[in-house]
């Protein structure tokens, strides 16, 4: 190898990119040629100087904070975008539906109460089952019930137009003594069970159990379950009107 070729290959040699044969040849040449050797040294020092000069470039302190903030903003945007994807919505709907379905199908305490209320109501419809107290006078019904039970049920005389009190009785639902108020509307019988809540009061719910409509409701003073074969609309009317009476204190 002569100096001309050596000079040409020097960069690649110093970069360790020459094939083995030429690398060894150049190495050999350098050991013999002082001028090429000093050129090689110059080039190597220059490279080191260049690397040192690059190392003096320091990122300004705010760069890290700025980049981090930008990256995190973008990440936040992307996680919201994920939530907006259609399949996420679909999955959420499925989960929600399952949840609702399970809530309706699985036995729950309130549902059980309503079922028992329906049972007691249907028993009471048997012709030979008398009322404990038969009176259209709410005061009479109330005082009788208060004696028999350890609480005073609110007795609404006429909870809605067309409904009249016919009497009351003491009943038992899930081992609880409850007051039952019986109303008549045309040919339909409506039983309104009520008792004071022990812990939490009933939530406002609708049930349809074995052909009967059931409405549950509760406040701090009383839990109510209303059972009858009235239509949904009639039940709603009854309940709305009844609630108004209770909330406005229009009862005995």
């Amino acid at each position: 190898m002569d100096c001309e070729e050596a000079n040409r290959l020097l960069d690649a040699y110093l970069d360790r990119e020459l094939d083995l044969r030429r690398h060894l040849e150049l190495e050999q040449h350098l050991s013999l040629c002082l001028s090429c050797q000093s050129l090689a040294q110059e080039l190597e020092e220059f490279r080191l100087l260049f690397m040192a000069s690059a190392q003096t470039i320091k990122a300004p302190p705010q760069l890290r904070a700025n980049v981090l903030a930008a990256v995190r903003r973008e990440q936040a945007k992307r996680s919201f975008a994920f939530l907006r994807q259609p399949w996420v919505y679909a999955a959420a709907v499925v989960v929600l539906s399952l949840f609702l379905a399970l809530n309706i199908l699985l036995p729950d305490a309130e549902g059980e109460l309503s079922r028992q209320a329906v049972l007691r109501h249907s028993y009471s419809l048997a012709p030979d089952h008398p009322l404990d107290v038969a009176s259209a006078n709410p005061r009479v019904v109330k005082s009788w019930l208060t004696v028999k039970l350890d609480f005073a049920p609110p007795v609404v005389g006429s909870p809605a137009s067309g409904y009249s009190l016919v009497g009351g009785r003491v009943d038992v639902i899930q081992n609880r003594s409850v007051a039952a108020l019986i109303y008549k509307h045309d040919n339909d019988v409506v039983t309104l069970f009520c008792w004071p809540p022990k812990k939490e009061h009933l939530s406002k719910r609708n049930h349809f159990i074995e052909g009967y409509h059931v409405r549950t409701w509760g406040n701090a003073e009383c839990n109510y379950i209303v059972v009858s074969k009235l239509s949904d609309r009639e039940m709603d009317e009854f309940m709305d009107s009844f609630r108004v009476h209770v909330q406005s204190g229009a009862y005995f």
């Binding site: 970069d15 220059f46 260049f50 690059a54 760069l63 980049v67």
Partner: protein, 175 residues
């Protein structure tokens, strides 16, 4: 138990300094370099899902380089039309020339580098700072191996000439 995949921040933030150096070498200005680094990190975040491995540096540096090119294309008019004015590109991180000899030379070398055209700056930065092999350079720059070698040679030659020129001028001014 499968190991948790490293986060974007864990893999990429450690290379912030190197990313800035590369951007600075390519763009010659501190503010532009900062903008490009931020843009590069956002692009890297977007493409992070497809990244495999535990060393993000080479991957990230190519993103920085491409972001620098996008920036240069966008600002091409300004970059090419104006003559190179060292005053525009001077920054507070430059040390005054009255310091020791090696630091002087380092500053002069940085000046000389700024005067090179973009292809030369790019290939020198990727070779010397990022340590890319000739093969890696060929695939990164999408040129044949021979072009890599000649471009590198010319760039180094040019840098030496610019450097010598600056030193000569300053030595003369000093007299």
């Amino acid at each position: 138990m499968e190991q948790k995949r490293p986060t974007f921040e864990e893999l990429c933030l450690p290379h912030l300094g190197a990313a800035y150096i590369l951007a600075r070498l390519l763009l010659r200005s501190d503010q532009d370099a900062q903008d490009v680094v931020q843009e590069a990190y956002l692009r890297a975040l977007k493409g992070f899902k497809g990244f495999r491995g535990d060393n993000a540096r080479p991957w990230l540096m190519m993103i920085v380089r491409n972001a620098a090119y996008s920036w240069l294309k966008k600002h091409a008019k300004e970059a090419n039309m104006l003559p190179f004015d060292p005053a525009i590109y001077a920054t507070s991180t430059d040390k005054p020339l009255s310091e020791s000899s090696r630091e002087e030379r380092i500053q002069q070398l940085r000046e000389a580098f700024k005067r090179l055209p973009i292809e030369a700056r790019e290939i020198l930065a990727l070779r010397e700072i990022e340590g890319l092999s000739y093969e890696q350079l060929a695939s990164a720059l999408k040129v044949p191996l021979g072009t890599v070698m000649s471009r590198l040679s010319r760039a180094r030659q040019r840098l030496r000439e610019e450097f010598a020129g600056i030193r000569h001028t300053e030595l003369q001014d000093g007299l």
